[in-house]
Assembly symmetry: C2
Homo-oligomer: 351 residues x 2
């Protein structure tokens, strides 16, 4: 593992609000629905004939339900919800949760790897739709994007911003094909948090760790050339392409992050009240808890409810922790994320 | 004008290197070449018949030459240079100029509104190609993106990074049609800087000002839905669409920025050694100099050499200032940018 960047003591900062957005909330796409879409009405027989276990995704990976804006592999349409729509709704919920006026938000960070637009920065776009008059950017660094965005927000708060909105939206279904395992693994979600300045100097980002390895950048990505062209469209090159070979590196990246954060902060595993990992599959979540020496009861595990919603996932998990009182005031949380990019990292946050 | 975010005293920072990249450096596309592409071999007659002045673009807008990776309106090809190629070459030049080892770069910020990829963050991608093992992101906020990126780099340097590479690449030609004024106005370029920590506390970002207005986000942008789809491709919706109505706002945005920076820093116009504006057309540059109360001799005006290369432009101008000794050590520079997003802002930098 290369060293990466460790940040310390970005304090006097608190999470004042969080929110999520899902297409048709409460109407999940179930594993059996996907079996049916791939294999047809007699999927049970067809899967049996191919020696495929219908329960595999739940039993082995913990995948049960997910929200979709779009049926993977079908033609995308202007009538479907976009990642920007999800960002806007999630941001609206987070701002309401914070009780802060949108006029007091001094910066907006929009995060997505599945933007509905080329060229246009989702920062100003989403801020404009929310009626927020503040400087805004769009940023991304793979699945760990929001570890990065939180450190950027914290630095802006330390340099004069009163409140920073991070809003993230992902529509992974629009880059997934139906004929692959990834159809089961991908979900769509918006998620947002409001970070605010506080007088309390025991609240904030005690330690942050950021890293990427671009050697693996092309192992998981959409290969089609941008702006769009007919040949890549005909060849279905605007779907996510995945090449084996990153798994060992990713396991190491996830496993090495907690120790770096413990060392940088002086905080010990038994001081962590809540582990909030990016959600890939249940094995990764279990491995993260083990590497962090944190019992599974203190670990947020919502992969069964949402699947992997790209960079949006970890803020959905953070919102889940807050709303279910698994992360309350005056506690300590450990966040870990890693995935495509390859980007990875983590945060220790005192609330 | 809404307030925006003002940052002060991001000090102990210096620009240690800068560099650029152009396709086929030295082989410019001239105004007459574009006349010929649009009107054919007998362009002089055809333009006269339409009452069009061939000298208009040079006389009125200051546009003479530009570098193109691509002929606007033609089918894009995997054989052409991409914005990532331009980022990599510019970064390589900036790193050489800085004399800093790539192993001492602790963060990479890639900036583009014309990425060659969907989903994939250009941060890790470009860092990987450069052999830089450091955390990396891609970010954008329209034409002022690099005003934002420099403040982000400065904050990372204040929080432990030793050196931060900002590398930017734009291929505006790939989103421009040939049958419009914009074909004359757009150019392609890569540009990069290395920002480094220094013990000198009189060097750095004395004041920064960042703002966006998303109300105008859709006035200038690529309207086609992402990921790519056949209908938008057939309807040529992956080209830049421009709606009248932003000019007055942009003029105000540019005009109001110097005063905000002077007020925040206590620096007076006669203390500025070099004005580095984003390059749109010569009228905008003249207006910027006037608003900043800076004589035109101290103003970088390279629009005639490169045209508007999107967010890459201002770092090309900064490199030009450094390489031509218009900005040397122990001087003060004012940077101003504004454009699509709408994003705008500026910096006062002590070198």
């Amino acid at each position: 593992m290369v060293p990466g960047l460790t940040l310390k003591n970005l304090l006097n900062i608190e999470i004042t609000g969080s929110g999520t957005a899902f297409p048709e909330r409460g109407r999940w796409v179930m594993n059996n629905d996907i079996h049916q879409m791939i294999f047809g009405d007699n999927w049970a027989e067809k899967m049996a004939a191919k020696n495929l276990r219908p329960d595999y995704y739940e039993t082995e990976l913990g995948l049960k339900k997910r929200y979709w804006t779009h049926t993977p592999g079908s033609t995308i349409s202007h009538n479907e919800l976009t990642s920007a729509d999800l960002m806007i709704e999630a941001a609206d919920n987070a701002i309401k949760d914070s009780g802060i006026s949108k006029y007091e938000i001094d910066f907006v960070i929009a995060v997505t790897i599945t933007s509905p637009k080329y060229s246009t920065s989702m920062g100003p776009f989403v801020a404009g739709k929310l009626g927020i008059n503040a400087p805004a950017i769009e940023m991304k660094s793979g699945c760990a994007s929001n570890i990065f965005s939180i450190t950027f927000a914290a630095q802006l708060l330390q340099n004069g911003a009163r409140n920073v909105l991070i809003t993230c939206g992902e529509t992974t279904t629009k880059i997934l094909k139906m004929n692959s395992t990834m159809a089961y693994a991908g979900g769509d979600a918006g998620s947002a948090i409001v970070l605010s300045r506080t007088d309390a100097n025991d609240k904030g980002i005690v330690a942050g760790y950021l890293n990427t390895n671009g050697f693996y950048s092309s192992y998981m990505g959409v290969n089609g050339l941008m702006p769009p062209n007919q040949i890549d469209l005909d060849n279905e090159n605007y779907y996510l392409s995945y090449v084996e070979g990153t798994e060992e590196f990713l396991q190491q990246a996830w496993a090495s992050t907690p120790e770096i954060l413990y060392k940088a902060s002086g905080i010990k595993p038994d001081e962590i009240d809540c582990l909030i990992p990016h959600q890939v599959h249940k094995k990764r979540t279990m491995a993260a808890a083990k590497a962090a020496c944190i019992p599974i009861e203190k670990t947020i595990n919502i992969i069964g409810e949402i699947a992997n919603c790209g960079s949006s996932t970890i803020l959905v998990a953070l919102d889940n922790a807050r709303k279910n009182n698994k992360l309350t005031n005056n506690q300590t949380a450990l966040l870990i994320a890693g995935g495509g990019g390859i980007s990875w990292g983590g945060l220790i946050i005192k609330t």
